[in-house]
């Protein structure tokens, strides 16, 4: 089975650990990825704040390239990229005039036929059915599943999980032996793009997310978004400085946790790249 993969900027940069774990899982489960050739930026937050057409044209080009290359399913591990791609597909489906305009802009054909999967959907569909036989080291930890914002929002467009109390990641984690704790901060804001311009805000918001997970006795925070990861992991020293704390709880991608459970080495799934040491193995 061949899927398209759209890595976006973060998986080739700050979230190489995430990228490595996704590919490691694919390899372990005999799933082949084809990177969408000549892919471009999804537009992220910047594009849709400035120019609506641009914010749709950028993801539409990615989708058009996928269509050209016969990729019916595309996995998009980054939650922000995932949101932009799905929102674009939805907008253009609703509005044929706009679709034609975007085709003109792109000078490419676009139909919007590719199925876009986020990482949890991909795991659900292709990993879970063959997971049981592969588990060698059950992930026996208490985990706080942190979904962030874009994996489940806007819920009317994504039509994926309950926006206010999502469950999908908790279910995946319990399948590898983990104990997902009750965690009310699972969709609270981490500070997102303020990571660059206002680290104090990220420190404040992400600090609360970490505090509650530690308070409830979680061994790890599980994420499925590079932005969440970088705010909770890379910004940890800022957070500890801001709150005068010494939070040590590791932040693990859902794909890394599964990788460990099926016996992949911590190196293979990229744990060595984390800023907060991951003592789980």
């Amino acid at each position: 089975m061949k899927f398209g993969i759209y890595p976006g900027c973060s998986l080739t940069g700050s979230a190489r650990d995430y990228n490595e774990s996704v590919f490691a899982l694919a390899e372990a489960f005999d799933l082949e990825f084809a990177q969408i050739p000549d892919w471009n930026c999804c537009g992220a937050t910047a594009a849709h704040n400035l120019n609506k057409e641009l914010s749709l044209a950028l993801p539409a080009r990615i989708l058009a390239l996928a269509e050209q290359n016969g990729l019916d399913e595309i996995i998009v591990p980054c939650a922000a990229c995932y949101s932009r791609l799905v929102v674009t597909q939805n907008e253009l489906k609703k509005n044929p005039e706009l679709k034609n305009r975007i085709r003109e802009v792109l000078e490419m054909d676009y139909h919007g036929t590719s199925k876009i999967l986020n990482v949890i959907e991909w795991i659900d569909k292709y990993i879970i059915p063959k997971l049981d036989e592969k588990i060698v080291k059950p992930f026996n930890y208490k985990v706080a599943c942190y979904y962030g914002c874009l994996l489940v929002r806007p819920d009317k467009v994504l039509n994926y999980d309950r926006a206010e109390d999502p469950q999908t990641m908790d279910i995946v984690m319990s399948k590898i032996g983990a104990d997902p704790i009750y965690y009310p901060y699972k969709t609270e804001c981490c500070g997102a793009g303020f990571s660059v311009s206002r680290t104090d805000i990220v420190s404040k918001l992400s600090g609360k997310i970490i505090e509650d997970a530690e308070h409830r006795g979680a061994d790890a925070i599980i994420v499925a978004c590079p932005m969440c990861h970088s705010n909770l992991d890379m910004r940890r020293s800022d957070i500890n400085k801001y709150w005068k704390t010494e939070y040590k709880i590791p932040v693990v991608f859902v794909t890394q946790a599964i990788g460990l459970a099926i016996g992949l080495s911590s190196e293979k799934v990229g744990l060595k790249r984390h800023f907060v040491e991951v003592k789980i193995s």
């Binding site: 309950r162 206010e164 109390d165 009750y182 009310p184 509650d212 308070h215």
Partner: protein, 667 residues
């Protein structure tokens, strides 16, 4: 020769703003057989009607077309005007220029063209109208009230007191409805049970009221004055006449772990139970779904202990067929439940409850005999948060409307709490305070000013548990969107009021309309708030939309007056727009061949068989015959008749052809 009069109405500006009424009148005036054509600002007004009456006389009109609004509201008005002008009322037709033209198009020449077409086809139709006489039908002077809450009770008593018979049916084992669950009532804080239970007893004892509890509507046929209703009396599994209501069976029943509906799940009840001590009738029923005997085939302890041997395990459901003249629907409402709001934690924590559960906590007859105690550990909550609009006015959650009663009951809840827990702190998160009503705003002010309830204007984003406390995170929009976090012991959600379960099903049985939220629809939002679209069926209380007690009672009395008005007549007249099977001279008698396909498709069972006999009394032909009393004029039989032997008065095939031909032809 036909002499048609055409009257174009401006409907204020509703029609004239987009349609050139002058041009329509002028063009129509030139048509063949149109003897008179004019326009007027408000044709339904007194001068407008006078215009029609005088024109009929002056121009010796043989038919009238009023081009105005939808016939739903004003067809009777104009038909009456024609009758007063000396014309048979069924020689008047309406052309709908408002809903079918001016409201849905922009102002331009094409709109006026379309208006001309709409009027033109009615002119052609009315030429073929025949003078008809209304059908007279008798009235069965027995009313049925569906639902035994406060609205149903009020309506039943009011009708019964006018001297007419009332059948009241209630699907639960006791009447009383939601009002019987309430602790105290706003804005006077008088005890709900104290004002309600005497009325419940009155219903049971009234000589004109027959009460069937544990019963539901099975089917409804017929029409105003002449409904035929089947009701299903569910088996109570006991003989009500023998049972004395001693309650011994309910105390001995070994199955005691069934969530008590009356206590909103905050207490348990046995399988044989009386819903609450003041129930009417005060007789138990066996809940067969949970009874050990019905599940496992063994037990029968209630039968053994019953001193009067009243238990009947093999009792079947009973179907009663009733003749009913008018129906009052008073089936009430429900509140939106559980997982509607995962972020508010309802269902996850015992100490997050809904408004009706709080009523039971505060009620002297409730599970805590009126003490405000946390369901989780029985402690008195020191901080309590009330969240208004939990679901209401929130299109993102599917309910855009205001549930109307929550502002008031939330103020009451906070007040009751403060009266019982003096040192406690009560917070109310609200969007707006909607306290329109006599002494209502004063009541809310009293909660704030005298009982020191903290009102915070803003919404709550989430409620979660931490270290045994409930953390309520919200915003205070009056303090510049300041985030607010309250550590609470208990949270009460004023969840949205929604249509009662089964409302949609009942509406379909009754053939009445309902809205997108499954609330029963009134015939007109302003001028017919009690009537439904089906004549003879009226609405009372919260089955129409969430309502408080005074509003429900007022509407219930209104519905009773409508019923009494109907019953003041011995005969009703119906529009004679019914189907008819043709008759010809013997030996043919009719072109009908007696296949009776029409009988199999008639939704109203209005088609009968008629035998023709020769002089020896031998049947020579059997043909179909329409019962005018039952026929609703739907026309299904007309479409199906293979020999074209059936036609519809007022909508004959020839009339419809004339309309189509008019539209196809140039004028």
């Amino acid at each position: 020769m036909a002499r048609i009069g055409v009257f174009i109405c401006h409907c204020g500006e509703n029609i004239s703003a987009t349609v050139d009424c002058g041009k329509v009148a002028e063009t129509i005036g030139k048509l063949k057989h149109v003897a008179y054509s004019t326009e007027y600002k408000y044709m339904c007004s007194d001068p407008g009607q006078t215009l029609i009456k005088e024109a009929i006389k002056e121009h010796k009109l043989t038919g009238v077309v009023v081009a105005a609004c939808s016939p739903r509201m004003h067809e009777p008005t104009f038909r009456k005007a024609c009758a007063e002008g000396g014309l048979n009322p069924f020689l008047c037709e309406m052309a709908n220029l408002r809903e079918h033209c001016s409201w849905v198009h922009e102002k331009n020449d094409l709109t006026t063209e379309k208006a001309i077409d709409i009027v033109r086809i009615q002119v052609e139709k009315v030429k073929l109208n025949s003078a008809l006489q209304p059908i007279r039908v008798p009235v069965t002077k027995t009313a049925m009230v569906i639902g035994g809450g406060i609205a149903g009770i009020q309506s039943a008593l009011d009708i019964a007191n006018t001297g007419h018979k009332v059948i009241m049916i209630e699907r639960s084992p006791s009447i009383g409805g939601h009002m019987s669950q309430l602790s105290e009532t706003f804005p006077t804080l008088d005890c709900s049970q104290c004002i309600l239970t005497p009325r419940m007893v009155e219903v049971a004892q009234h000589p004109n009221i027959t009460l069937y509890t544990y019963a539901e509507v099975e089917s409804v046929e017929g029409f105003i004055g002449n409904f035929k209703v089947k009701i299903r009396k569910k088996a109570k599994s006991l003989d009500e006449k023998t049972c004395t209501g001693c309650g011994l069976c309910t105390t001995k029943c070994p199955q005691k772990k069934i969530p008590n509906e009356f206590e909103q799940g905050m207490g348990m009840r046995p399988a044989i139970y009386i819903p609450f001590p003041q129930a009417v009738p005060n007789r138990p029923v066996i809940d067969r779904e949970h009874c050990t005997y019905y599940i496992k085939g063994k037990c029968k302890i209630c039968e053994i202990v019953c001193p009067t041997k009243a238990i009947r395990f093999d009792q079947p459901d009973e179907i009663l067929e009733l003749e009913i003249g008018a129906i009052v629907v008073a089936t009430g409402f429900d509140i939106k439940h559980a997982d509607f709001f995962p972020e508010y934690g309802y269902g996850k924590y015992k100490d997050i409850i809904d408004g009706l559960q709080f009523e039971r906590l505060a009620s002297a007859s409730g599970p805590t005999t009126g003490a405000i105690l946390r369901p989780s550990d029985g402690q008195v909550p020191k901080n309590i948060v009330f969240i208004a609009c939990a679901g209401s006015r929130d299109p993102a959650k599917g309910i855009a409307y205001c549930s109307k009663i929550c502002c008031m009951y939330t103020a009451k809840h906070a007040m009751l709490y403060k009266h019982k827990v003096h040192e406690g702190k009560a917070y109310v998160f609200y969007m707006d305070i909607r306290s329109g009503g006599k002494n209502y705003d004063e009541f809310v002010r009293r909660a704030i000013e005298e009982d020191h309830v903290n009102y915070i204007r803003g919404r709550v984003s989430t409620v979660f548990e931490r270290d045994g406390k409930l953390i309520v995170k919200g915003v205070d929009t009056l303090l510049g969107a300041q985030p607010v976090e309250i550590v609470a012991d208990m949270v009460v959600l004023a969840t949205a009021g929604v249509a009662n379960s089964g409302a949609e099903d009942l509406a379909q049985k009754l053939h009445v309309s309902y809205d997108a939220h499954k609330f029963f629809a009134e015939a007109h939002p302003k001028l017919k708030p009690i009537e439904t679209n089906t004549a003879g069926i009226f609405l009372a209380g919260a089955c129409q939309n969430p309502k408080d007690i005074p509003d429900s009672v007022s509407q219930a009395s209104g519905a009773a007056v409508k019923v009494a008005g109907l019953f003041s007549q011995n005969e009703l007249t119906r529009e004679p727009l019914v189907a008819v099977v043709n008759r010809t001279a013997p030996p043919m008698y009719s072109t009908c061949v007696g296949c009776f396909m029409c009988q199999s498709v008639c939704p109203y069972q209005a088609i009968e068989r008629e035998d023709f006999k020769n002089r020896e009394g031998k049947i020579v032909k059997t043909v179909a015959k329409i019962n005018e009393g039952l026929c609703q004029g739907c026309g299904t039989c007309v479409a199906l008749c293979r020999s074209k032997s059936i036609d519809l008065y007022g909508y004959s095939n020839n009339q419809v052809y004339a309309e189509v031909v008019a539209l196809l032809n140039e004028y």
